[in-house]
């Protein structure tokens, strides 16, 4: 157990480099979008919002990597936290519309008037203040993750069972948010946003700023994650992942370790969701769909789990592929995505980062994807 006493046994230089790359790319793209349209280097608003979307997805992928790559929890419901963060941001953006909505009511968003509601539900109170809404972005998903994780980890629900109930969680939330009565716009979700902090969401400048902000937040998340998993806590996480019972016998509390990383990961996903909504301009219950969560897992698998940088790489590459594929060959995207699942799990257990690393240094099996939860008799 020498590993546990040596802080920073794994330093993830890739994460630092990836953070730098992300910020630089975001700034370059944002800057290029500000050039006049005649300039050959001009980048269209579409590309800017697409890049912002990818980076927001990358935050979701990073959060999945934290729990799956380091704690061995295969989450099939992380999009729930992403979407909750998105809804919290959406509430603020709805209130920013104010009296400029179709019905011109300064207090109630359009959909509430449409449902002939008389007053704002209590959980919408204060959402016109940016700071309060941002607090909700972090607190609500963290609280949900906390309660769910506390219940699940305490009773040692693990492996496939845990995966399935995370999926049930996001499915239940999706069904709930589809209901008009919940007060989040039902089927249509929240949309028609006008501006954020007084800045018009549709101007190139705002879009450019949002892209840079997303890039910076992603870089920050990468660096904080690296700090979290690189030190002693990270070693503990990996120990829990690879031999949970043994770690428990050594006197650690695997449930608390998992809960901490679970809640932290949910908050990263939520920030990603909030940034996503500002750039995509809509949040609806479809974001809770179990398929979305599973897709975010494959981004991590493609990039390489347990590497931090790989999650970002995978998210961007897969989504880029999806954008191109659905533009050129829309029927074949599902074949492509399905094959991606098969090929990565069969032939690329360490993802793209795993391909690249052996060339750099003969890495020891420090991040083996060996999870032996349900096969306890074989461990």
């Amino acid at each position: 157990m020498n590993l546990l006493s040596k802080p920073g046994a794994r330093s993830f230089p890739g994460a630092v480099r990836m953070a730098a790359v992300v910020v630089v790319v975001a700034i370059v793209l944002a800057g290029a979008s500000m050039l006049p349209e005649s300039n050959p280097l001009h980048v269209s608003a579409f590309v800017v919002s697409l890049a912002g979307k990818y980076l927001a997805y990358a935050m979701l992928a990073l959060s999945v990597d934290l729990v799956w790559g380091f704690a061995g929890i295969l989450t099939l419901g992380h999009a729930a936290f992403f979407a909750l963060g998105g809804y919290a941001m959406g509430m603020y953006l709805m209130r920013e519309i104010g009296a400029r909505g179709v019905y011109g009511n300064p207090n109630l968003p359009d959909f509430m008037i449409f449902l002939s509601w008389k007053s704002l539900p209590w959980y919408w109170w204060g959402t016109d203040h940016f700071a309060w809404a941002m607090l909700l972005v972090l607190v609500i998903p963290a609280a949900l993750a906390g309660v769910f994780g506390w219940l699940a980890f305490r009773s040692r629900v693990s492996g496939v069972y845990l995966s399935i109930i995370t999926q049930a969680l996001t499915y239940a939330l999706m069904l709930g948010f589809f209901q008009n009565g919940l007060g989040f716009g039902g089927n249509n979700g929240l949309t028609d946003f006008k501006d954020i902090l007084g800045a018009d969401l549709h101007t190139p400048t705002t879009r450019a700023v949002l892209l840079v902000v997303t890039g910076v937040m992603l870089a920050l998340a990468l660096l904080i994650s690296r700090f979290v998993v690189g030190g002693r806590f990270g070693n503990l996480l990996v120990a829990v992942r690879d031999a949970e019972s043994r770690t428990r016998f050594l006197g650690y509390r695997p449930d608390q370790v998992k809960l901490l990383v679970w809640v932290f990961s949910a908050m990263i996903a939520a920030v990603g969701g909030a940034l996503y909504v500002t750039q995509v301009g809509i949040i609806n219950p479809g974001e809770f769909a179990p398929a979305n969560s599973i897709e975010s897992v494959i981004w991590v698998a493609v990039g390489g789990r347990g590497t931090l940088a790989g999650a970002v790489l995978g998210a961007v590459l897969v989504n880029l592929g999806k954008t191109l594929f659905t533009a050129w060959l829309p029927e074949f995207w599902l074949y492509g995505l399905g094959l991606l699942f098969l090929v990565t799990t069969l032939f690329l257990p360490n993802g793209l980062m795993g391909l690249w690393r052996p060339m750099k240094k003969a890495a020891p099996e420090e991040v083996t994807p060996e999870v032996s939860d349900t096969q306890g008799d074989e461990a």
């Binding site: 009773s155 040692r156 496939v160 069972y161 239940a172």
Partner: protein, 535 residues
């Protein structure tokens, strides 16, 4: 009956008065009145004819209804029978086709009179089933004009079954008209009769009686008591009805989840493409039906039965291929298997969409499976009942396979302790492949069942898969009783909660309950015990 007689006297006087007042012309008899073409006169003539006991009444009124009654401009009414005509008055065939024939036309008023007259005649028809049908039909009409006819029928009716229906119709008819002085006890009696009948129709009548201010207080009180008694009955039956829906949904879940539970038990693998196996089973059913329609149409009613083994074999074979070609390479990595099978499910969905198109296919339900029958206040649809029975048979068959065959023994051994089973000479790879094939085949059977109650589309599997997962998680693996209990609990729980809190909330409530439940019982209701399954 004295009061009823008095009442019918009043009614008859009213009818006759109306006939006198509204008749613009005097007619020799009802046949002339019918031939006149004046709708008012025709309606009156129909009533008189029906009450007259004239043997020609039945054929004439029937011909009028069927548009086979003609009038000649020279007078006289004729019924067309094929190419020939008979005299309506005498029933004798006429030798030559009368000149200037024009068909008798009907308006709503005449139609109403006609229907009433026919009901009146049917009430005293010699055949019991005709009378019973007529009496039953009268219940929904509560037409005050028919009250004398009902009273007349009651006075001559001997059959107790028909009498009950007549009494009910009479009660509904009495309450359907405004209260008359002195008729209070009669109305009270009618209220009690209706309360005993039950049903939405009776509830509606009683509710309006209870709300009418002209009604006597004790009649109103009895009516409102009747309403609450009926309500209670309806509620009770609707609980049973929902329980039945829950049973049939639970049966589908059971069919879907046993396969999942077997593969999970034996291999520790969750097959995310399980829903797609169901979908393929449903498409197989469709293809079998199309194939039979093209080659052997006389077998069409039993195509669903032929589809059962075909779907099992098709899906089972696909399952074995998946295990040999994919799952075994991911051995000992259950979470990766989950992702790989998810990828597979995407490919299968898209493949089916490319081949069959994205729209729903219509799998026809054979006649012997369509329709329903009433059981008390419940409506039992045959297809849902069949699925319930089918699930029971499949479960029984599976029990036999698991308990009485060498393969079942080996599967149970591998479920309990894989390494020990291998040491005893069981070829675990073969057991894995067959278990996966069996699971997929069971999903195929579920697909056959689902094709009878749901749309057959590429997304079919997706709508059942999460509930099936919940069943496996809730019931535990390696024990079919656990799967059975969990499937029925989830199916019934959802459907019984539905009417009170809505379908979506019921689903959410069930999901949350299951999530909470497995906090206490992380391995389901019936966990496999032993050292081999240490977590």
């Amino acid at each position: 009956m004295r009061k009823a007689g008095w009442l019918s006297g009043v009614m008859a006087a009213l009818v006759m008065g109306a006939a006198i007042v509204f008749s613009p012309l005097a007619h020799a008899d009802e046949f002339d009145a019918l031939a006149s073409g004046h709708f008012e006169d025709m309606a009156g003539a129909i009533a008189t004819l029906a009450a007259s006991g004239n043997p020609q009444a039945v054929p004439v009124l029937h011909a009028l209804e069927e548009h086979q009654l003609f009038a000649s401009s020279q007078g006289g009414l004729f019924i067309r029978q094929g190419e020939n005509y008979v005299d309506a008055r005498t029933g004798q065939p006429v030798s030559a086709t009368p000149p200037d024939l024009h068909p008798m036309r009907l308006n709503n008023r005449v139609r109403k009179a006609l229907a009433g007259a026919q009901a009146e005649m049917e009430l005293v028809a010699p055949q019991r089933d005709v009378r019973l049908k007529a009496a039953t039909a009268l219940y929904g009409r509560h037409d005050p004009a028919l009250l004398p006819a009902i009273d007349h029928a009651l006075s001559v009716e001997k059959d107790s079954g028909v009498r009950v229906k007549l009494e009910e119709a009479r009660a509904a008819t009495i309450l359907g008209q405004a209260p008359v002085e002195g008729a209070q006890s009669q109305r009270l009696e009618a209220v009690h009769t209706l309360a005993g009948v039950g049903g939405l129709e009776a509830r509606g009548i009683l509710a309006s009686v209870a709300a009418a201010s002209v009604e006597a207080p004790d009649v109103r009180k009895a009516a409102s008591e009747g309403v609450s008694a009926i309500d209670w009955h309806l509620r009770m039956w609707s609980v049973f009805q929902n329980a039945f829906y829950g049973l049939s949904y639970g049966s589908v879940l059971l069919l879907a989840a046993t396969g999942l539970a077997i593969t999970f038990g034996v291999m520790g693998v969750i097959n995310m493409a399980h829903g797609e196996m169901m979908m393929i089973g449903a498409y197989t059913t469709w293809m079998v039906q199309q194939g039979i329609r093209a080659t052997a149409p006389m077998l069409e009613p039993v195509s669903i039965l032929l589809a059962i083994p075909v779907a099992f074999l098709v899906c089972g074979t696909i399952g074995v291929v998946i295990e040999r070609g994919l799952i075994r390479f991911l051995y000992g990595r259950p979470l990766e298997t989950l992702l790989a099978t998810w990828g597979l499910s995407l490919i299968l969905q898209q493949a089916v969409r490319s081949i069959f198109g994205p729209t729903n296919l219509a799998v026809e339900t054979p006649l012997w499976l369509s329709g329903s029958f009433a059981l008390g206040g419940m409506d039992i649809t045959l297809n849902r009942l069949a699925i319930f029975i089918f699930a029971g048979l499949v479960l029984g068959g599976l029990m036999l396979v698991l308990r009485r065959t060498p393969l079942g023994l080996q599967m149970r051994a591998v479920t309990q302790n894989r390494r020990m089973a291998a040491l005893m000479g069981i070829r675990t790879p073969r057991v894995d492949a067959l278990a996966f094939g069996l699971g997929a085949g069971l999903a195929g059977l579920a697909g056959v069942a689902v094709s009878q109650i749901d749309n057959v589309s590429p997304n079919l599997g997706q709508s059942y898969i999460i509930d099936s997962f919940m069943v496996v998680v809730f019931g535990g693996v390696g024990n079919l009783w656990g799967t059975l209990a969990a499937a029925m609990a989830l199916g019934m729980g959802g459907k019984i909660l539905e009417p009170t809190i809505g379908a979506v909330s019921a689903k959410i409530a069930i999901l949350v309950l299951v999530i909470l439940y497995i906090q206490r019982h992380p391995r389901g209701m019936f966990p496999v015990r032993g050292r081999g399954v240490e977590s």
